[in-house]
């Protein structure tokens, strides 16, 4: 029975993804307020904190723990200390502010070392991922709109 149902579920999921893609806010259309916050979600699907946790620890995705220590993600090894620990971050920032920091932290902190995860152009010698070869702008953003929402959903769980 499960065998028969499986393909069906996949078809449904794929269909849902396509229709949602249309409702996404493109990186160049994101509206930041004067302090760098993004009020409106980037997608129609509410973020998943569980997925967000994966994005934060995966080296090929957010790799946020390269710079930030997060107690809740302790099972992933080696957290960095380039950025502040993220414990309690939801007490310090609103959802809109967190979304703005993850999408492009430079709008919140002028000149910060934290990379912009939802930005596609305006780079100096942009590369093709980690190949060292030239890339062409617009580059794919470091994270998709949904991944940003997922990360934001995870960050909002970090209360003290």
């Amino acid at each position: 029975m499960t065998r028969k149902l499986m393909p069906m579920a996949f078809v449904l999921a794929a269909g849902a993804a396509t229709s949602l893609a249309a409702a996404e806010v493109a990186p160049s259309d994101v509206v930041y307020d004067d302090y760098g916050a993004i009020e409106a979600p980037l997608t129609e699907t509410a973020g998943s904190a569980e997925e967000g946790a994966k994005v934060m620890t995966n080296r090929g995705l957010g790799n946020c723990v390269a710079c930030h220590a997060v107690t809740a993600l302790e099972s992933a090894p080696f957290h960095g200390e380039v950025g502040p620990p993220l414990d309690g971050v939801a007490d310090r920032w609103s959802v809109a502010e967190l979304r703005g920091i993850v999408a492009n932290a430079k709008k919140t902190y002028d000149g910060t070392i934290m990379p912009a995860f939802y930005k596609t152009s305006g780079y100096i010698r942009p590369g093709d991922a980690f190949t060292g070869k030239a890339g062409t702008e617009p580059l794919p953003p470091l994270l998709t709109a949904q991944q940003i929402e997922d990360v934001v959903a995870f960050l909002t769980t970090l209360k003290e």
């Binding site: 220590a69 107690t71 090894p77 957290h79 502040p84 620990p85 060292g132």
Partner: protein, 290 residues
């Protein structure tokens, strides 16, 4: 810059206080250790920053300081330093004729222990005749081409890197002292600009990691000041000696940028600039790194 400096101090205290948060530190390094090679060769691994840094660093430190105790130890005795094997190999090449002139390095320079003493410490260096700043690799290739009638070596491959190691050893313990004024100044300025440019999709400059964050962990990597007094460096990761500009290339690639080519005017300028940031540290190559 100052901001990051301040926060660094604050975070280390915070991390120290919250014992449970000590998630980093894969293999702790003794950042206060001193380097003495073979029991008698004192290496300056930390000293006052050169004046031209204008206070950007309070003290300059060798990359050796940030390595784990085990890696540090490998450099304390030449019998344990895997890089020394390549120095021996280069010594054979030193005496082997190559090219149309039937000459070897030894034909012109005799014993490297005498003729090459102090050379590594002052390179990259302005060459009056050529009217350019030459890296050591460029000078070696100039000798090969014009004096030996031999082909150039690829500057990141082992023939070249091993020869640089042989030449470095003759200056071990001497302070790096590259000139940045006079005719070298223009190249130096260009290198400085590159050092502070935020390249690639991650928008990171050398300074973001090696000036603002040395001593901090970035994932499992303990960031050093990115000094080059220890090059060529034997890396446990690839078990060979590595060229300075190959390291530059790797670091630029890691910013998701289009890299410069080893031997390019940009990397040559950057090499002069980064070398000058280490003026006062000892020549240390071949060093051992992870």
């Amino acid at each position: 810059m100052t901001r990051t400096k301040l926060t660094r101090a604050t975070w280390s205290t915070t991390l120290g206080l919250l014992g449970g948060l000590a998630l980093a530190a894969p293999l702790a390094a003794d950042e206060n250790a001193d380097l003495v090679i073979n029991g008698d060769l004192n290496i300056t691994v930390r000293t006052e920053a050169p004046a031209h840094l204008d206070g950007a660093l309070s003290e300059i430190t060798s990359g050796w300081v940030y390595r784990s105790d085990e890696t540090q130890q490998l450099q304390m005795d030449d019998f344990d330093n895997p890089g020394m094997i390549f120095v021996d190999q280069a010594m054979d090449v030193w005496g082997t004729p190559d090219g149309t002139e039937g000459k070897s390095c030894a034909s012109c320079h005799d014993d490297p222990a005498v003729s090459m003493k102090g050379v590594r410490a002052v390179y990259p260096k302005w060459n009056e005749e050529a009217g350019e700043v030459r890296t050591l690799a460029m000078q070696i290739n100039a000798c090969r081409e014009s004096r030996m009638g031999a082909d150039k070596w690829d500057i990141v491959k082992s023939d070249m890197v091993n020869m640089e190691a042989l030449i470095s050893v003759q200056s071990r313990g001497m302070p790096v002292n590259v000139a940045i004024d006079g005719p070298a100044q223009e190249t130096w300025e260009k290198g400085k600009e590159i050092y502070y440019t935020r390249f690639g999709q991650l928008e990171l400059a050398c300074a973001n990691c090696h000036e603002d964050n040395y001593g901090n962990y970035i994932r499992a990597d303990h960031l050093s000041q990115g000094q080059i007094n220890g090059f060529p460096a034997y890396r446990l990761k690839n078990a060979k000696l590595n060229a300075v500009q190959d390291r530059f290339k790797g670091c630029v690639r890691d910013t998701r940028a289009e890299t410069f080519k080893p031997g390019s005017p940009e990397f040559n300028a950057l090499e002069l600039y980064v070398a000058s940031r280490g003026n006062g540290l000892s020549v240390e190559g071949p060093s051992v790194r992870n």
